[in-house]
């Protein structure tokens, strides 16, 4: 079985983002970029499936600008076997990404598509669900446990009330949550090896997919800042402030 792992290049999760001067988006110049943290978990899970004998090949696929090659190389250094870049700048909206991924899925016929539940830039949480819909496949979202058996895939999902177990009929799409695994770091020898692994590039036109945007971003602004607070030095003072000043307890 092949496993397809779509990944995204985003601003590093530890960077505090700033809105750009013309309020058209956030500042991306000279900002450290990295693989979306949820995507790292997806790559790790796919590699573990191959290491555990449940998968033969792990294919990382990115949709975005040419620099996404770096992100794909990171996935290859972690242990993915080969990579596909669908080059398009800017990256399309989730529906467009899902359509591109559908085309790649039909080309590669993987048994599983594993991807992050959301990217930490747009916070949309849509792509996996949309891909599954377009393929008419089942989907396990927000997955923190994955068991791949012959003819069925059991997932544990993190839902608002706790945990939920669902059996999916493969092939299926899995969107991963934080607690599925702890992604490995790529070793230096593996980073070197990754440079020689195959990376193919396509355009949306090559795949015959229209990714015209449906949403217009009119303005991006900073959220209102919270006013500076005060320090208290005892429990009595805190309770007094909550009761009499803020009147909230």
């Amino acid at each position: 079985m092949k496993v397809l792992v779509p990944i995204k290049r985003v601003i590093d999760a530890n960077i505090k983002v700033r809105v750009n001067a013309d309020q058209s988006g956030v500042e991306l110049n000279n900002v450290k970029m990295a693989m979306n943290p949820f995507c790292e978990i997806a790559v790790e899970e796919a590699i573990r499936l191959r290491e555990g004998g449940k998968a033969e090949e792990v294919i990382a696929v990115a949709v975005g600008p040419s620099q996404s090659q770096e992100t794909l190389r990171t996935a290859l250094a972690m242990g993915a076997d080969r990579a596909i870049l669908i080059e398009t700048d800017p990256a399309p909206e989730p529906l467009g990404v899902a359509k591109l991924l559908k085309a790649v899925t039909e080309k590669e016929s993987p048994g599983l598509v594993i991807l992050g539940k959301q990217a930490i830039d747009g916070d949309n949480n849509q792509t996996g669900q949309m891909l599954a819909a377009l393929l008419d496949w089942s989907v396990g979202t927000f997955v923190s446990g994955l068991e791949v058996n012959d003819g069925s895939v059991r997932v544990t999902r993190e839902v608002d009330g706790g945990l939920e177990n669902i059996d999916l009929t493969p092939p299926c799409v899995i969107t991963v949550d934080l607690r599925l695994n702890e992604p490995r770091y790529a070793s230096l020898p593996n980073i070197m090896k990754a440079k020689k692994k195959p990376l193919e590039t396509f355009s949306p036109d090559d795949l015959g997919v229209d990714v015209s945007p449906r949403i217009e971003v009119l303005k991006v602004i900073e959220p209102p800042a919270r006013a500076a607070g005060v320090k208290v030095s005892s429990a009595e003072e805190l309770v007094e402030k909550l009761r009499n000043e803020a009147k909230v307890i």
Binding site: I215, V220, K231, K241
Partner: protein
Amino acid sequence: MAILVIGEHDNSTLRPSTLNTVTAAAELGTEVDLLIAGADCSSVTDEASKVGRVSRVLAADDPSFSDGLAENIAPLISSIAGNYSHVLAPATTYGKNILPRASALLDVQQISDISGIESEDTFIRPIYAGNAMATVRSTDALKLITVRTTAFDAVGMDGAASVETVSGGGDAGLSKFVGEELTRSERPELTTADIIVSGGRGMQSSENFVLLEKLADKLGAAVGASRAAVDAGYVPNDYQVGQTGKVVAPNVYIAVGISGAIQHLAGMKDSKVIVAINKDEEAPIFQVADFGWVADLFEAIPQLDSALE
């Protein structure tokens, strides 16, 4: 045209998230329909008919809808969506699971997690963990939207909607519900609580969370946690507040032993009053706190407990 709201429920009661979503829908139009897709869920349908601002309840009662499986419910939504200008669902794990699937079936680019409505096609939504607010305009004829429930008040239960049966259903045969482990608690639900007491890595163990639970019970509060505390196994996943966990906006959020990573702040910075108790005075949580107390939580919490007597 009318607005459709996807009701969230567990086949016996309506989830409060539905009430916030109806408020958002009522800002978009006067005619609001509420879909209840479930199995043996007549009690939910009855409750739904009392939800304010709702004109009609659409009852889709079928065994295939019993467990909220996206594969079965999304086709139902897409089959009736043509009657509406907007389809709204709460941005809870239920809505986030189902609505994007319906959107793709309808070839619509969904707008996720809106926190404000500018006009019938223009919405405000947080991006980058709420560090930026985007105003976006949808060019799709039909709009599918998930709603940040904390950004809209709950509608009252003063309605008298008619109930109509909607046919449809049938098992797509793609997925099967096996079971669930839900956290049972007598405390208020995190997303609707007026007061939240939340613990982080500083709690050091699950046993120590009892300290917070005692405090929470004294205040009638819900108990939350940071990702660090959940990852460490101190509390279950459904306690997590943050960018990818639950978004909360109570009257008071008491953060105990939480450093205040960007991702955590994303889930609680719209709280009315934020209290931070942390022994590290450099902790970023103090930058958003209205009341900060630099103290060892193991001394501070018992003191706070007695000061509340």
